[in-house]
């Protein structure tokens, strides 16, 4: 066996560039597998652990106010295993830099072990319900703490029920509902500077909001395997007298939906993406080995004649593939662990999970070794099968002529007769190696498709940003008020120097009923003449605001199966005054990218709540030169709950996108490597098996460039259709990827700009040129003197 091993080393040495290229492809596949799977595994495990430890709620019920005694009643509902009441409300914060932020005050009753949606201390200490020196103690989420440069012991001024309260920050904490902290679905990304979570004792919250012995949110955990719908129905009935505003399951909880979306995306690509690389590498190994066995037929015969048995020879040849995979796996494990740590850092930036989500996952590494060795063995053993049929005596004779080497193009007589001999040669060679051609075409198209997949997220986000910031919303600031005001009161703001345009709006939480089903939604009333905010159709064009009827949100339309022309019943869930009911006709469906809002005219919104000219917020367009002054003036106004600056939102998204650029770059490099190795291998195999023929062309008087041209002619009919095929394949891949992680909070259209197609095609062209160039370098070394020597 030692001699065979040495022979194997010679073979590897002789084809070292192919060997190395394939090992790199395997390494890329393995590192993607380890990187993504480790990230998925770790993220999903810390999610589950965090959820379990802190009794993450299965269902949320929002009420106007309800007595704590109700909780016992809810806990008696069959199927309910745990229920907690709490107070949660958004309050404006006056920051030291005069800027506005919003904190979501969330109350907790100590001890926490029986609390649904508990929290864990990250740093500092827990709040005390009754601090020694009086006042209020609270904890905030670490990201808000950091983004606002807070230290323990600092006080934060909040406004609750129109009164300012200083709150002392004593610690930071994390909870399962705060892993991805966003104010609402109208945001794409968190902005920790202007939005955070403040956790404080229940008694203090009840005091702040004047709700003694009461709560405004009920969180419920169900026992496993119960009929949730029935339990939810019973709880709703219990809560009805207390103004049941909204209720939704865990899957609609924003933070959970974002985390799940990411996990689903990761899971979808964790196997699929590495498999593209690994299966192409395996297919090429198969082709190389088959070729090797064919050309070394007589040597195999000699080995058999010498007394080596089939198993030894098969193992000898298969070892070539197994060694490629071993080398690839070793390389891949190293870079995979690095990639996993990069992903973990990235996720740590996005998701607030207290348990470490980094770390090497040995199980995944073990799987990757099994995966790569299994693939190598599969490619090796299946390619080595013909060895069984080689008999020592026969192998010494020349091989019978291959049966069909006529090309498909020959069927088209007109074209064939016009082709030069070198083109005929190319087409015949291709059709003689159909499997190799198929692998080349599939491989090159996959590489181009991966290039598109790498680049399209940028397009999608760019489109999203453009659509959102430049078309759907034209305002510079969005204000929301502590309570509804008359539109005429906007005069105070419109008089500020630099305010160019101001439009009031009314936001109304609603429940939409349709055929026994219902869905919570947000109805926004704006002026039909509004230029600062535009609902849009699926193709991105604006929908005019109708005087009568509504533009329903895509999500509600999809969930309730509604279509244009249907009439739906709405119930308002404002929490102020009685709930109102109205019947509205659906005029159109709103495909706005952020926020899932339904629209009516401002007058219609007022009619629904039996009011007139009320607004809950305003959109402002300002002179950019005076923006800072206006922002300052707005910050000083009481009655304003929050100020959202569009510029800041945009900057925040852009800075978050920056962190993705490395991943895009890495994926582009991986795709180009894949394409390069495919083209190089295919061309070098063609070159090696026809060295003698190509050299004979030189004796005929062909120049070396003309010989290189003949090699090109073999590559072009494979590369060109593959490049073209790769473009739509990339779109399909992008669609599959998005549909795998499509959560209905956000509507993410697959947008691929022509530039990305062009760049992907260019990238494809680059790897084809590079691969072909690398393979044709051998032409320079072709020795025509060798021709007069014996064959073999």
């Amino acid at each position: 066996m030692k001699v065979l091993n040495r022979r194997l080393l010679h073979i590897i040495k002789g084809s070292r560039s192919q060997f190395l290229g394939l090992a790199v492809i395997i390494a890329v596949g393995i590192s993607l597998y380890i990187g993504i799977t480790t990230a998925f595994f770790n993220l999903s495990q810390s999610q589950q652990y965090f959820y379990q430890e802190n009794n993450f709620a299965d269902y949320y019920f929002y009420v106007v106010r309800a007595p704590e005694s109700i909780i016992k009643q809810v806990e008696r509902v069959p199927g309910v295993s745990l229920a907690s009441g709490r107070i949660q409300k958004d309050v404006p914060v006056w920051k030291k830099d005069q800027e506005r932020a919003t904190l979501r005050l969330t109350s907790y009753d100590l001890p926490l072990d029986k609390q649904v949606n508990g929290i864990e201390l990250i740093q500092g200490r827990f709040f005390s319900p009754y601090p020694a020196g009086g006042g209020i103690e609270a904890m905030v989420n670490p990201a808000y703490f950091e983004a606002n440069g807070l230290t323990f012991g600092d006080t934060v001024d909040i406004i609750a029920e129109n009164r300012k309260y200083p709150v002392k920050i004593v610690g930071t904490a994390a909870g399962p509902e705060f892993t991805y902290i966003m104010k609402d679905a109208a945001n794409l990304l968190p902005d920790h500077e202007t939005f955070g979570i403040m956790m404080l004792p229940l008694n203090q919250a009840q005091h702040l909001f004047n709700l003694p012995g009461q709560f405004n949110q009920l969180l419920v955990q169900f026992a496993p395997g119960v009929d949730q719908d029935r339990a939810v129905q019973s709880i709703k009935e219990i809560l009805t007298p207390y103004g049941n505003l909204a209720s939704f399951p865990r899957q609609d909880q924003l933070s959970h939906a974002a985390l799940e979306g990411e996990l689903e995306g990761l899971e979808a690509i964790s196997l699929f993406l590495p498999l593209i690389f690994l299966s192409i590498a395996a297919a090429i190994q198969f082709i190389i080995l088959r070729r090797m066995i064919k050309t070394q037929r007589s040597q195999i015969g000699i080995m058999k004649a010498l007394g080596f048995d089939n198993a030894q020879i098969i193992f000898h040849f298969s070892s070539y593939a197994i060694l490629i995979c071993t080398g690839g796996a070793l390389l891949g494990i190293g870079s995979g662990v690095l990639m996993a740590s990069y992903f973990s850092d990235l996720y740590a930036m996005f998701f607030n999970l207290p348990r470490a989500i980094g770390g090497v996952n040995y199980q995944v590494i073990l799987y990757s070794i099994i995966l790569s060795l299994g693939l190598g063995a599969l490619a090796g053993f299946s390619a080595s099968r013909p060895i069984l049929k080689i008999s020592p005596a026969e192998s010494m004779r020349p091989q019978p002529p291959s049966s069909s080497i006529r090309s498909l193009v020959e069927k088209c007589n007109w074209l064939w007769s016009r082709l030069s001999s070198s083109w005929k040669m190319a087409f015949r060679t291709i059709s003689r190696n159909r499997f190799r051609m198929l692998v080349s075409i599939l491989g090159i198209s996959s590489a181009v498709a991966l290039l598109i997949l790498s680049m399209f997220t940028n397009d999608a986000v760019d489109y999203l940003m453009d659509q959102h910031f430049n078309r759907e919303s034209n305002y510079d600031y969005m204000l929301s008020f502590n309570q509804p005001i008359k539109e005429s009161e906007l005069l105070n703001i419109s008089r500020l120097e630099g305010v160019e345009l101001i439009e009031g709006y009314f936001t109304l939480p609603i429940r939409v009923y349709q055929g026994g089903r219902s869905e919570e939604d947000v109805l926004v009333g704006i002026h039909p003449s509004s230029t600062l905010k535009h609902p849009t159709r699926e193709d991105g064009t604006f929908i005019p605001i109708p005087q009568e009827g509504m533009l329903i949100s895509r999500r509600s339309a999809e969930r309730l199966g509604l279509k244009v022309g249907d009439t739906v019943e709405l119930e308002t869930l404002l929490g102020l005054g009685p709930n109102r009911y109205a019947q509205l006709k659906i005029v159109s469906i709103n495909y706005q990218l952020f926020g899932n809002e339904s629209y009516v005219s401002l007058a219609q919104a007022n009619r629904i709540i039996h009011e007139s000219q009320l607004i809950t917020g305003a959109l402002i367009k300002v002179d950019p030169g005076r923006a800072a002054g206006i922002e300052k003036a707005l910050s000083d106004m009481t009655g304003i709950n929050s100020i959202v600056s569009r510029q800041k939102e945009r900057d925040n998204i852009l800075s978050m996108m920056d962190s993705m650029i490395y991943m895009v770059g890495v994926m582009i490099i991986f795709s180009v490597i894949l394409g390069f190795v495919i083209v190089y291998n295919s061309a070098i195999m063609g070159f090696n098996e026809r060295k003698r023929e190509l050299a004979s062309l030189l004796t005929l008087g062909f120049t070396r460039q003309e010989v290189a041209g003949i090699m090109w002619k073999e590559t072009i009919p494979q590369a060109l259709p593959a490049l073209v095929l790769g473009l739509p394949a990339g779109k399909v891949l992008a669609e599959l990827y998005f549909s795998s992680m499509q959560f209905d909070m956000w509507y993410m259209p697959v947008v691929i700009y022509p530039l990305s197609y062009a760049l992907a095609a260019l990238g494809g062209l680059v790897f084809v040129l590079l691969g072909q160039w690398a393979a044709s370098r051998g032409i320079k070394k072709l020795d025509i003197i060798e021709l007069s020597k014996n064959i073999d």
Partner: protein, 236 residues
């Protein structure tokens, strides 16, 4: 015999350096080649005959000496010029044919025809070598003799001045070998090409106008054959 001088080799030698070993494949030799002659270069293996043929055919440059072809000094020609020389002046026939396996007999010939401006008609050349009926066959479907005929047709189609044959009958049985030699003679007779045959088979020398004997990397003697035998009368 026509004494129109076609090529002159003046004191050419060839030394190959392989690592630390220097192999003197051809010692200083001089040879005149005339238009329309059949020149047979005879010698055992290692005698330098193939090296000499490669130098004549512009496949290699001499280490020393000069090769003059139609007033051109091939010994100083660039790669590009040598390629042009092979393309327009030379036809090569090898022992192992070296046909393109993916092209039919006719296409193999056409491939060479595409290289020059005024090639002979492919079909005509194929019929001259007796392969008109087999023109659609691939090399793997042809016998050795047939493949060698394709190889000769491929060389002829460019209408070369020099037809260089390296052991053209080496891989063939006696009968087939004789028919190939007949074909080569016929080529010289009809087209006026100079035919140079390199072989270790002394019997073939009988058909030559001149015979070059080589030994240990040098020309031992040059014999003018006043009465060359027709190939069909040769035996080995």
């Amino acid at each position: 015999m026509n004494q129109d001088l076609l090529m002159q080799l003046k004191g050419v030698s060839k030394t190959y350096v392989m690592g630390e070993i220097r192999v003197e494949a051809l010692k200083e030799s001089s040879l005149d080649i005339y238009r329309g002659e059949i020149l047979v270069i005879l010698g055992p293996s290692g005698s330098g005959k193939s090296t000499l043929l490669n130098l004549i055919g512009g496949m290699d440059r001499p280490s020393n000496g000069d090769i003059v072809y139609k007033n051109r000094h091939l010994s100083q020609a660039s790669d590009q010029q040598l390629t042009q020389f092979r393309r327009h002046e030379i036809g090569f026939v090898f022992q192992f044919y070296n046909l393109i396996s993916d092209l039919t007999a006719e296409e193999n010939v056409a491939l060479a025809a595409e290289l020059v401006k005024n090639p002979l008609p492919t079909r005509e050349v194929l019929s001259q070598v007796g392969l008109e009926q087999r023109r659609d066959h691939f090399p793997s479907q042809l016998s050795g003799g047939e493949q060698q005929r394709v190889s000769i047709a491929r060389a002829m189609v460019k209408n070369p001045t020099l037809l260089l044959c390296d052991e053209p009958t080496g891989a063939l049985d006696f009968q087939t070998g004789i028919s190939i030699l007949q074909l080569l003679k016929q080529t010289r007779d009809t087209m006026g090409s100079t035919v140079i045959i390199v072989t270790h088979n002394t019997a073939i020398g009988a058909m030559a106008d001149r015979l070059v004997r080589m030994r240990s990397g040098e020309i031992a003697e040059i014999i003018v054959n006043e009465s060359p035998l027709p190939p069909e009368r040769i035996e080995w």
